[in-house]
Symmetry: C2
Subunit: 230 residues, 2 copies
């Protein structure tokens, strides 16, 4: 059986990436990170998703909180709310976390070499996304090249492939793919700034991209949102 | 003033890399990792070296011990001893730690972006070395390409450079460079498998490469070794 490490944040995209890996016949090793994110409840979502999609193993790796700073996701900086589609599409927002996917994929690579697994899946998406540089196809392609030069496995000919199956999907296409693969969307968590009771804010970039995707796919989003105030 | 993050293990090579960065006029930010290595005393060495070479700041980052396994440096696997030069030069030894430099450089990249620093120094060496794939020039070059695609800084034009000033140095040349730059070599720790009292074993690959370097440079190694038994 083919083995794959799958980065699993607990959001819609990574849950769908995990379901895709599974549907392609991989035995999956789900990998999540506790990096001091304000939306740490995504880790509970990740646990439930890993179980629901029958991951062979799920690890939550702690990232030293000295390393990520300067981001609205890790520091005391306001998460932008109610931005227009044009604003979301322009530039790299303050929710950007320095070198996050490089650190995540580097950990995935270490684990993959140990398992051993020749495949790593990441739910990165460069269409309806937040403009993060490390979600773009050129980043994924370069990391794959690096992976094969960096490791004993790569040097000895056991090629590592980085799969980003959603990279060119719209958010609506991701929702449709998730439905097709029976992902329990009620388990997924996308909000950057959830309420204390766990409901999504409905206004951060991530909530807005999610809602747009469900809307365009004509699928009802099963998660709970904070009531819209006038 | 130019800023540089410098990977500092506490060994001869990284101490020399730090001294080189300093001699080139960089304000230095030393970065070490606690990854469950059996030679954890190298972290004490790193602390002393960072201070002695006037690093502006020194951070020791904890790597989750779930991630590195299967190596003689992190697991209960014997560190090879008294190998011949030919044996040391052949293949990748069991002291290889999966994706270690990828993880280390990824953390350096995150910190560099936060400082911000446009330069990262690593003491990697591909001549008198242990055959680790992530110490080779092609790895360093690819990581630099990745760094400039992965980050906001890179995308916005603030180029990140990865410096590996020792990559083509013999161990003897590294020793000579360290002496030239007044590195206090008594502070450096290279041994993979030190005695409980801190003395170097003198027999692991790292000790042997170090001793060969000091010998060829005709410099007395100031650290203490376990007595040689017949």
């Amino acid at each position: 059986m083919k083995h794959a490490v799958v980065l699993l944040s607990g959001g819609l995209d990574s849950a769908t990436a995990l379901a895709i890996a599974r549907s392609q016949g991989y035995e999956t090793y789900a990998l999540s990170f506790d990096y001091g994110q304000r939306h740490r409840q995504e880790l509970d979502a990740a646990r439930k998703i890993a179980k629901s999609l029958a991951a062979k193993e799920h690890r939550i790796i702690k990232i030293d909180n000295q390393i990520f700073s300067g981001s609205a996701l890790t520091d005391d900086i306001d998460v932008p709310k109610s931005r227009s589609e044009k604003e979301i599409g322009a530039g790299i927002p303050v929710t950007y976390v320095p070198a996050r996917n490089t650190i995540f994929l580097a950990h995935a690579l270490a684990w993959a070499e140990t398992i051993p697994a020749g495949h790593i899946f990441i739910g990165a998406n460069a269409i309806d996304y937040s403009g993060y540089p490390d979600c773009r196809p050129e980043f994924i392609a370069l990391f794959e090249m690096l992976a094969n030069v960096a490791t004993k496995a790569g040097v000895e000919g056991a090629r590592v492939q980085i799969h980003a199956p959603l990279i060119k999907f719209s958010k609506a296409e991701i929702v449709r793919k998730a439905v097709e693969l029976d992902v329990d969307l009620s388990l997924t968590h996308s909000c950057y700034d959830p309420l204390p009771d766990g409901r999504a804010c409905g206004k951060c970039d991530s909530c807005q991209l999610r809602q747009k995707g469900f809307g365009e796919a004509a699928v009802t989003d099963p998660i709970k949102y904070a009531p819209v105030r006038p």
